[in-house]
């Protein structure tokens, strides 16, 4: 197996700047891993490019995780962890969720793994995914009110009647 390649951020940004100008906002590093911040409007195109491009082939969506920054605008961010099994690359794709709509395009058409992961994100954070075939709650009962992983969700007490 090819050893894992972590330092691919700059190469990838260069490639994307050529193919999808304006899609990448910035590249950040944390703990030796790179994250690619992309514009919400370009999310589907970037995801499609990352998966289909023969020199990248990010075919494996490992994880999808919303982050609630609470006091920041925009408040929510969604992080997609992608792997290229062929080249052993790994990257985090980050996108801000627009505050007005709280909605991102669904990536279920690109990675089937996104189906349940997006449902989980919707259930726990209330982030919607436009175009998801079956956007229902997955962990909590269907009649549950609120989204408990939000950081302003009350941890104790009863709802007012």
């Amino acid at each position: 197996m090819i050893p894992v390649q972590r330092d691919i951020g700059a190469l990838l940004v260069g490639d994307l700047a050529e193919r999808l100008p304006g899609a990448v906002r910035q590249l950040t590093h944390s703990c030796g891993e790179c994250s690619l911040h992309v514009e919400p409007a370009h999310l589907t195109q970037v995801a499609r490019f990352l998966k289909d491009e023969p020199s990248w082939r990010f075919t494996f969506l490992a994880n999808l995780s919303p982050v609630d920054w609470l006091s920041r605008t925009p408040r929510f961010e969604v992080v997609y962890h992608l792997r290229s099994l062929e080249f052993n690359y790994r990257i985090a794709l980050k996108v801000d969720v627009p505050d007005q709509t709280l909605s991102l395009p669904s990536l279920t058409g690109i990675w089937r793994a996104a189906n349940w992961l997006e449902r989980e994100a919707y259930d726990l954070f209330g982030v919607r995914f436009a175009g998801h075939p079956d956007l229902r709650r997955i962990m909590l009962p269907d009649d549950w009110e609120g989204h408990p992983y939000r950081r302003d969700y009350p941890l104790a007490g009863r709802a007012a009647q």
Binding site: M1, P3, V4, S30, C31, G32, E33, S35, T59, F60, L61, A62, N63, S65, V67, D68, V79, H81, L85, N88, R90, A92, W111, R112, A113, N115, W116, L117, E120, L124, R137, I138, M139, L140, P141, P148, Y149, R151, L155
Partner: protein, 392 residues
Amino acid sequence: MSVTDAQLMTINIGPQHPSTHGVLRLIVQLDAEKVVSCTPDIGYLHRAIGKIAEGLTYEQFLPYTDRLDYLASFINNHGWCMASEKLFGIEPPRRAEYLRVLLSELARIESHLIWLGTHLLDLGAITPLFYCFREKEMIRDLFEEICGARMTHAFCRIGGVRDDVTPAFLPKVREFAALFPKAIREYESLITNNPIFRARTRGVGVISAEKAIDYGLSGPSLRGSGVKWDLRKAEPYAAYADLDFEIPVGERGDVYDRYLVRMEEMRQSLRLINQVAENLPAGPVLADAPQFLRPSKAEFHRNMQAMIRYFHITIHGACPPAGEVYAAVEGTKGEVGYYVVSDGGPKPIRVQLRGPSFVNLAALEEMAKGQYLADLVAIIGSIDIVLGEVDR
């Protein structure tokens, strides 16, 4: 002749059903005996573990990870410790890394044995369960010897492992390692060429390599479809880079191939255990990082500063720098990943647990389509889910 919806029968399996291995509910649409669609309904065991993590320090959260895949809790602990170590910037000592491999592989064998026994039980074979549980108990004894607990060990620590081995531990490991090859031969002589087992599993629940990747399958469920992908090789962590082992893969991606992969994985785990038991490096088992880790009890009693630090870290928790990390280990079911975001405080602001069982279970729909209802239990068994990790 096409069948209209009115001619389909909808049945409900679970959430309390022995073949669903926990509180899993399936809504199955049947055309006579064949499955038209199978929709899992999960969340009965949801405890919001990721949310709990936001209220605890990195150290305090460790025992909660035991309750994800409770059949291989050491591996979950290890993943959490790895993620925390990357955030804190701590390097565990060599001996600890080797011990982590040893315990992870023992946990892998234990989990695979429980899978094997219960999977065969689902298919109507009762005997293998007793054989598997006999060896499983030996592994539980080994864990009891080293850490006092048989399940939910919480033995891994940020920066190493909790304790060094007891004098009796390694001899007991060798005893187990000497006995286990015979045990595997015993299971295989019962199962591998058994015509009933083959008839129930060959060509059942097939998923192609391409679809398996698309669904995000990992672990033996992915390798059964012929994809050679294992994080122990792809992103060698702990001491895996120093050790010899193979990654078995299947060819057809059916229930039988997933069985073969897990059987071979047990052999490979045993190889790893033997290598570690013979070459365990000397040295400490916990990193020396006074800024983040509590001093030892001996130090605590000798040194005033150490005592202050001890209380400070216990009460306030240690603060990693702001940042984020995604760390993953190869669990028994697949990629056990932790995405952790820190704002520089003593508690993480976001923890996402990637449970391989959760992601793998989403592919059940695909595997079950067009199969007989009776084969559905074989397919569920072959994905090897633990509901603690599905629902989290």
